[in-house]
């Protein structure tokens, strides 16, 4: 159960926003990598993320391709 911090403590709330944004980005990268390994298309990844296939590819393809080259 996540408790939203009191608005009276904006320092804690804003720090949590930054940390959650970073966590979401890390999770997105790992999950897209795994989806591609399982044969997902960029169209499906885009649908799952709520963005276009082109946007998903532009944002994440290079990062994932780089990893594939290394393995």
């Amino acid at each position: 159960m996540v408790e939203l911090p009191s608005p009276e403590d904006p320092e804690a709330a804003l720090a949590a926003v930054v940390a959650l944004r970073r966590l979401a980005s890390q999770l997105e990268r790992s999950a897209v990598d795994q989806a591609l390994r399982q044969g997902w298309t960029w169209a499906h990844i885009g649908q799952a993320l709520g963005i276009s296939a082109q946007a998903a590819h532009k944002k994440l393809a290079q990062k994932v391709a780089q990893e594939r080259d290394d393995t």
């Binding site: 996540v2 408790e3 930054v18 940390a19 966590l23 890390q26 790992s30």
Partner: protein
């Protein structure tokens, strides 16, 4: 051969911004901000950023772990317990050399350049970035320094001492 200051500065800026971009991508952050600039400054060959940290009584090698802990703490405060990724993140793309920064990142970078210019004969060095980032009252750098138990004012002062040789 001693290079003219402007060329030295351009080389340092290129190294600094490229490394900051790499740090941001590695962490899964969008654009580089003050914490990534500071991590990049700690890796600059002039060594002044590292010396400023040591002078302020802390190990520069601990700064990355302090950033991670500051983020974990922030999430714990709202009841989110998150360990690091279960396996390493996919490797970040190579830095593209576009040199875009977050707004606070731009503030720190511009302040560091201003400090270097104010030093007249001194080219831009890592300690200028330390002084500029240490000046920011809020944000990830301030919270990471708190994790390390380092006073921001003391770190800024230490950076000044390293730069002036006092």
């Amino acid at each position: 051969m001693k290079l003219p200051r402007a060329i030295q500065d351009m080389r340092t800026i290129k190294m600094l911004l490229t490394a900051a971009e790499t740090q941001a991508q590695r962490a899964g952050d969008g654009l580089p901000g003050p914490e990534h600039l500071l991590l990049a400054a700690l890796d600059l060959p002039d060594g002044t950023a590292r010396r400023a940290f040591e002078r302020a009584g802390t190990d520069p090698a601990e700064f990355q772990a302090a950033i991670d802990e500051a983020h974990r703490q922030a999430m714990r405060d709202i009841g989110v317990l998150a360990a690091g990724p279960s396996r390493p993140l996919p490797e970040a793309a190579p830095a593209g050399g576009l040199y875009r920064l977050t707004a606070p990142g731009q503030e720190v970078f511009q302040a560091a350049v201003r400090l270097a210019k104010a030093g007249r004969r001194s080219p831009l060095r890592g300690a200028h970035v330390v002084a500029a980032a240490g000046d920011q009252e809020r944000g990830t750098v301030a919270r990471a320094l708190k994790v390390l138990g380092v006073d921001r004012g003391a770190l800024t002062a230490a950076a000044g001492e390293v730069l002036t040789g006092h």
